[in-house]
Symmetry: C2
């Protein structure tokens, strides 16, 4: 059915030449082909719209021009994962960078590491971006393929042999909490999605800020709300009893922050009058919410660009300048934190 692709052999037959000659023209080895034939072959290639069969690259070269972008989701996020602006931006930037470099992007979102490994091997990809992998899975992927892998937001932080890009979550947590403390807010809760990964690092930043102000860490002030939990919004109501103008909440994502604010607002509280909230990411949610969200800004585009550049350099046999790139974050102050006025706190 449909049009059949022209092969080198067919072009060669039509011109009464050998496939080798045609192949030589394709690979610009024109020194080995007479000018007359170069012209003839080139015209035929255009006329019959010859397209190389990318998928067969793995036979003659070691790999295809596919780059695997693997997103590990330990929770079953379901199909809506890219409506999260973070993932959307990341894959948009990666696709762009790879395409411009002549590579193609195989996108694969999986919870089962084994399936990711199989995909990487079976497609003979040239390299991979591993998003939110654990160090163990990163290493296994790399060992199995023997091809470059660059991690983005590796779960359990940086290890010697990995190449990866992340953000300074310790500083992010610290800045968020320090800012509230400086406004005289000293009863600060933290709302996280899990106790692991980047949330754990942000928690350390939270603790560091408290320590600097000689406030003991009270683990009852750490709340975990699982994104999968359908009763999540219901459970958030436990936060209501903390409403107090000396209280603040540090949330590990803008999404969570918005939900927390809505919880308070629905119960008649005002933000930041009755309680302050700081988010994390600085995505579209933060700019549109009311009140507009004070949050920790991370440059997702830069993160993805850095990862793409690292991987492309590794694939072409080079060595990236750094093994580990940790991008800075910064606080963006908007309207969700009560500001200390001159005449009192």
């Amino acid at each position: 059915m449909g049009q059949v692709m022209v092969t080198i052999k067919e072009i060669a037959e039509m011109l009464d030449l050998s496939p080798t000659t045609v192949a030589n023209v394709i690979h610009r080895k024109t020194s080995k082909v007479s000018k007359a034939n170069v012209k003839r072959v080139e015209e035929a290639l255009k006329a019959y719209n010859y397209v190389p069969r990318f998928s067969l690259d793995c036979l003659t070269k070691g790999s295809t021009r596919l780059i695997g972008v693997f997103i590990y989701t330990d929770k079953n996020f379901g199909p809506g994962i890219f409506s999260d602006p973070f993932y959307g931006m990341v894959i948009g930037v990666l696709e762009y960078a790879f395409r411009k470099a002549g590579y193609y992007m195989l996108l694969y979102v999986e919870e089962d590491p084994e399936l990711i490994f199989q995909t990487a091997l079976g497609w003979n990809i040239a390299g991979a971006i591993a998003i939110t992998f654990s160090n163990r899975d990163y290493s296994k992927l790399k060992t199995l393929m023997g091809k470059p892998v660059v991690g983005i937001d590796t779960h359990d932080g940086v290890e010697m042999e990995t190449y990866d890009v992340c953000i300074d979550d310790l500083d992010g947590g610290y800045q968020a909490v320090e800012y509230m403390l400086r406004q005289g807010i000293d009863n600060i809760l933290m709302v996280a999605q899990s106790k692991k990964c980047s949330d754990a690092v942000r928690l350390r930043g939270y603790q560091k800020a408290l320590r600097r102000h000689n406030i003991p860490y009270d683990k009852s002030k750490l709340f975990i709300f699982d994104d999968r939990d359908p009763k999540k919004t219901e459970k958030m109501k436990v936060l209501l009893r903390y409403a107090d103008n000396n209280a603040g909440i540090f949330c590990v994502s803008d999404r969570l922050a918005i939900q927390v604010m809505e919880t308070f607002q629905k119960s008649g509280f005002q933000i930041p009058k009755d309680i302050s909230v700081v988010g994390y990411d600085d995505n579209i949610y933060a700019r549109l919410s009311s009140p507009r969200l004070t949050t920790i800004h991370q440059d997702v585009q830069e993160k993805a660009e850095a990862a793409a550049e690292m991987l492309l350099r590794l694939i072409s046999g080079g060595t990236p300048e750094y093994r580990h790139v940790m991008l800075p974050v910064n606080l963006v102050t908007r309207d969700s934190v009560k500001i200390m006025t001159i005449d009192g706190e």
Copy 2:
């Protein structure tokens, strides 16, 4: 470098069998292999972690298990395209559906149709999703590949031979405008991104609503703001002179609607007191904006799921129930349109 993949031939050599026997076990043609050997081969496959080379499928079958998801962008959207919740949701749903069906997703965003065709051919994809293609490019892609293609939001509407999914933009435009008219708002502007494609259809819906209310169409009330234009926000100020409590603006996207609202708000106008605004899409912007945006809701997830199902059925040789799926849209009333009260309009 790295681990080398095990091949069928190698497994066969290790077990002192022929490659054919191993291949037969892999393809479940166990009727042709003795039970003892089936067991031996299966164990070896597991032990040496045999993974078939997906990319070579095109040699023996007609195509690979890749599905091309092609997004045509006549404007150079740049790398941030998926931060648009629409595209993000679409590709998330597609990736999920294809993966569950055993296919892999090749994502390719391009402005040059020729490069899309080359990609489709070179990778021997099993089928393609063509997002915002023109009918001409859709047909060309289909003809060149001879494989199933399903369109999403085909630019110039539906034609006989295409398979595609779209939304009822005529009704969307109509509902948006009709709603404002019923609130006594009779001076209605329309803000679009272009004069083509779905915007053109929505314009017809706009005109239809006016006609029903015996209001003549005034083309000076149609404003085009190109998303690429950096002076876009500046240019929007021409709208300000329409501020009037009998005036309303129908915007072809929530993003545009938000920008329009901000333009008015920055100049001290209130929405909907001084002017009403209706958006289109009902994405995250609409729910978070202030005032919350009254808008036309489209179910992006359903759209993508319908397209995925159609394509998978076509690939497996079946026939989808419909050639053209047009999903309904509906108005979601929130707070950006002035509501007519009992005692006056």
